[in-house]
């Protein structure tokens, strides 16, 4: 008798538990198993991989360590988007900037930049004498198309 009386409660509790454990919206890890890999389009994971490769190669080369006095000063130049997509190149540049700053090997200057400083406050400071950049960062995002029969493909670089 007691068992029969408990069954509805257990069923109700189980159904509630089921509702709470099946979220429709949740955060996923970027690049993880749940992340969506799209084709024919550059995604955030591509930017992270590109920034990771560029920064690792730059740090491993040791060229930033040859600048005296350290750390090297890096100015951001133009990143050309030569693809058919609309891309905010800051997705790439900001990641490289932050990674270089965290490494302690380089600092980025905001008082120098193509077309004037990015920061309006830095524009006012430009009149004051300061250290000129040791390096500038520029680049181009390109894409090429390839087709094998009915299978199209796009290669980014």
């Amino acid at each position: 008798m007691k068992i029969k009386a408990l069954i509805p409660f257990v069923a109700v509790a189980t159904s509630f538990a089921g509702c709470s454990s099946s979220p429709n919206a949740h955060y996923i890890q970027t690049g993880g198993q749940e992340s969506v890999v799209n084709v024919n389009q550059i995604n955030i994971q591509d930017f992270i991989s590109a920034a990771n490769a560029a920064t690792s190669d730059l740090l491993a080369s040791g060229v930033l360590d040859r600048v005296q006095p350290p750390p090297a000063v890096l100015a951001i130049s133009r990143i050309v988007n030569n693809t058919s997509q609309q891309i905010d190149t800051d997705l790439l540049v900001k990641k490289i900037r932050v990674a270089l700053l965290q490494s302690g090997k380089a600092v980025t200057t905001t008082t120098y930049g193509l077309g004037g400083p990015e920061d309006p406050l830095a524009a006012q400071m430009l009149s004051q004498p300061g250290r000129t950049p040791d390096f500038t960062l520029s680049g181009k995002i390109i894409e090429t198309f390839a087709r094998a029969g009915d299978i199209p493909g796009r290669l980014g670089g």
């Binding site: 890890q29 970027t30 690049g31 993880g32 198993q33 890999v37 994971q45 992270i48 991989s49 920034a51 990771n52 920064t55 690792s56 740090l59 491993a60 080369s61 040791g62 930033l64 360590d65 990641k95 932050v98 990674a99 965290q102 490494s103 302690g104 090997k105």
Partner: protein, 144 residues
Amino acid sequence: MKTRIATLLFAAVALAGCESSPSVNTIQNAQQTGQRNLIQDRRIITDKPFSRRVSVLAINTAMTPGDLLKVQVELLNRTGSIQRFIYSFEWFDVDGMQVNNTLSAIIPDQLEAGESKFISAVAPSPACRDFRLKMLQAQDINSP
């Protein structure tokens, strides 16, 4: 008669399905000049089938000119088919605290049948002294 042909066709299709992909042949110079600084590692294996398919042969480390730790891991695909996986490196300072890395990318990679490959990473800052490599078999996009 039709049954026999159907059986033969089925067997042919089954054999074609079992055909393994081309395997990688690797050649290198016998007298190796470079000496790898191999290190001992500690492994936590939770996916044994995957670890049997893709094995970590050796890990060596070096310091870059800028005093950054560089890690190189040699992998081998022991199967006759392509193996896809994702991996990421985590970095730790001298106190064992994880160093925040904005570029802690999860990198997709693959190994052809019988292929051995090196994956490497450079520490994000000179403070990094230890590392951890995480590997996960990539899910088949055709699987539900």
